[in-house]
């Protein structure tokens, strides 16, 4: 197989995106959607066919040299190793399904061309991140997804809050990107190369302190993209975008880019103990924080947004405790069931008549049993119901953490288990509020397009049986994913301990479910309390940031604007121009327009010259 064929994977969506951007607005909407879906599907098919190239060490191929200057060289190059192969397949697969779903979801929208162009462009950028063989190319994709995310969150830009949500996402992630960019430049300074393979191979040479700093910088970048503490405030607001966007970008792909980056740079990252601890800590704290917030949310998509944040926290946790395969496993299963949940939420919103508030839903089970069952599968996976995909992946992470045995890991493990309980609680709370009890919505909903509905079962299947990808030995599996990634699990616990841990997980899961069942099976209507609004607003982080960052910044800006720009610079400029104007007014009077006056000028000039010569002659 020609390795250059690998470029088909990112280039097909790019082609579709450019095509739709250039001439999509003049074509029939159906054709636009078809082009978008087919280009991503083509990308999926090629990654399936090219799968063998990813085995073992993987394949590295270069299309052309992008930038070259002195010792610096950045190629448009692809590194298709096992990690990238798995991620590529997931991204293109999920993206294909979501594109199909979006074709149904957006069928009444006027700006389909813009939507699908951005969506395709996003897939291209995401594949750049996944496939890039050097950090600069990866960074290109990194910024590309940020831009597309901005464009898609603010897709319905006529509403101010949507536009500002897009802006917020863009700016907050930009802070993380800054850290990543610094790390990139620093790495180039140290190694003289930006090839990921070489950096990873030579990371051992680095000073431990520097290694820690670099790891923390990379973590900062990953935090921004993946909405982890402390850069997580943008994700809940990002739900202002269309639902397929939330499913694709803010559940399955872009937000996992941070995790992927850490996995990609794992050989470097893993050398720093402090860095690893920081990653694990950030992950667990985010998981706990987001789960606690999800408990009180009222908007269906916000619940899911917080749950995404929480699950990505688990993935960070996995990386932090040294299990790339655990992180990737959870990343995959999560991508499937979270995309399923988001798309299910889209259906629910349609069914409930564009109602977002779960307190005003209820009883939708009778309205559409099909959606209910699909949503249920998603919820079961999210809550970590035994034998679903989500259960296995989450269990593996916690197991790895437990197996490390030191005190720090133990505390984190405890928090992780607690979070699992919370997860179970809020998942079932959502399920009960939406599908059970009496209908509370005011408006009559409309039916769901079949295109939307028929993309869900496939995802449900993947979510439900995603556990087979990396089935642990305890259940008779072979841990295929871990072997494929070349990282067989080093966890060796006795059978009794493992069973005990399973039981503990079961108890937490069951406890969460039970509380939700008792409390929300028959939900009366509104409930309001102070601690609730504290959680509802995400621990008031927005207000906190507003207070410590935005307001001082605004003050400084106002000072620079009023004091610096307006008073000082404008003052100087205006002063100069006023001076010129004033004195120029006198000079202007010289231009009388009178020929006689000008002739006088000639004469005086002539006199000056002749007089000068005369004087020098006399001398």
């Amino acid at each position: 197989m020609n390795p250059l064929l690998l470029f088909l994977i990112p280039l097909l969506p790019l082609l579709g995106g450019v095509f739709n951007a250039c001439c999509g607005s003049r074509l029939p909407q159906r054709l636009v959607a078809a082009v978008a879906v087919l280009s991503v599907a083509g990308s999926f098919l090629s990654s399936l066919l090219l799968w063998p190239l990813g085995a073992g060490e993987g394949t590295r191929t270069v299309l052309f040299s992008w930038l070259q200057s002195g010792g610096f060289r950045a190629d448009a190059g692809i590194l298709f190793d096992p990690l990238a192969a798995v991620m590529t397949l997931m991204v293109t697969g999920v993206a294909t399904l979501i594109h199909l779903y979006a074709a149904g979801y957006m069928e009444h929208d006027e700006n389909q061309a813009r939507f699908f162009a951005l969506l395709n462009l996003f897939v291209f950028a995401m594949l750049c991140i996944v496939l890039a063989d050097n950090l600069l190319f990866l960074f290109l994709g990194w910024e590309g997804v940020g831009f597309c995310s901005y464009g898609l969150i603010g897709f319905w830009y006529r509403k101010t809050e949507n536009a500002s949500a897009g802006r917020k996402a863009f700016i907050v992630t930009r802070i993380g990107d800054l850290f990543f960019a610094i790390a990139l430049l620093w790495l180039f300074r140290e190694f003289g190369t930006i090839l990921i393979e070489q950096i990873n191979a030579r990371a051992v040479e680095l000073d431990p302190l520097l290694l820690t700093v670099l790891t923390l910088l990379l973590l900062g970048g990953a935090c921004g993209k993946s909405a982890q503490l402390p850069l997580m405030t943008w994700l809940p607001d990002a739900m202002a975008g269309p639902t397929p966007v939330s499913a694709l970008i803010h559940a399955a792909t872009m937000v996992t880019a941070g995790v992927y980056l850490l996995c990609r740079m794992f050989p470097l990252v893993s050398l720093s103990t402090t860095g690893m601890a920081a990653i694990a800590l950030v992950g667990v704290l985010t998981a706990l924080y987001a789960a606690s917030c999800a408990v009180a949310q009222r908007e269906i998509k916000r619940v899911l947004a917080y749950s995404t944040m929480s699950q990505i926290g688990y993935m960070f946790f996995a990386v932090g405790v040294g299990s790339v395969s655990g992180a990737m496993f959870h990343l995959l299963t999560h991508a499937f069931f979270k995309a399923l949940l988001f798309m299910g939420a889209g259906c629910v919103i349609h069914l409930a008549g564009n109602e977002n508030d779960i307190y005003r839903m209820g009883g939708l089970k009778r309205k559409s049993p099909q959606v209910f069952w699909l949503f249920l599968i998603g919820i079961l996976c999210l809550a970590g119901t035994p034998l679903t995909g989500g259960f296995f992946s989450k269990d593996e992470i916690l197991l790895t953490a437990f197996a490390r045995g030191d005190g720090f890991s133990a505390i984190l493990w405890g928090l992780g288990v607690l979070t699992a309980g919370l997860t179970s609680f809020y998942s079932f709370r959502l399920l009960y509020l939406v599908f059970f009890g009496e209908p509370r919505q005011a408006e009559k909903g409309h039916s769901v397009s079949p295109l939307m509905l028929w993309t869900l079962p496939l995802l449900a299947l993947f979510g439900l049986f995603g556990g087979l990808l990396n089935l642990p030995h305890l259940f008779g599996g072979h841990q295929w994913l871990s072997h494929w990634l070349g990282q067989p699990a080093g966890v060796s616990l006795s059978l009794g301990t493992e069973l005990g841990l399973l039981l503990l997980m079961l108890i937490f899961f069951g406890g969460g479910w039970l509380i939700a069942h008792l409390r929300y099976r028959r939900f009366p209507g509104d409930e309001q309390a102070d601690w609730r609004s504290f959680l509802l607003n995400g621990w008031q982080f927005d207000r906190f940031y507003e207070f410590i960052l935005v307001r001082p910044y605004r003050t400084v800006c106002r000072f620079c604007w009023q004091g610096g720009d307006k008073a000082l610079i404008d003052g100087i400029m205006d002063g100069i121009s006023r001076l010129c104007l004033h004195w120029g007014g006198y000079a202007r009077k010289l231009t009388t327009g009178q020929v006689a006056f000008y002739l006088q000028g000639f004469a005086w000039g002539l006199l000056l010259i002749v007089g000068w010569f005369l004087l020098s002659a006399v001398k």
């Binding site: 202007r588 009077k589 010289l590 231009t591 009388t592 327009g593 009178q594 020929v595 006689a596 002739l599 006088q600 004469a603």
Partner: protein
Amino acid sequence: MIVPLEHVLFLSTILFILGLGCVLARRNLIMILIGVEIMLNAVGLTLVGASAFWQQVDGQIMVIFLMAMTSAEVSISLAMVVYLNRRKGTVDVRAFDEMRG
């Protein structure tokens, strides 16, 4: 020898100054042009005198070119005078100050 060269130069200087005075002091467009003609002729006299002094024809040829240019200049300036007179009904230079700043 007819006269010293200085006398020729002196004469042309006087002519030149007279022409200059006409250009500077008169307000009639046509008089200004006449002043220019006088100055040009003063220059012509210098050239012819110099030509005779060195016994070379070049100075005379310069005068021929001078005449040709003068004809060109006069034809255009007089056309302008006609045009300006048509616009304002006068040839007084003080009337034409549209280009003032």
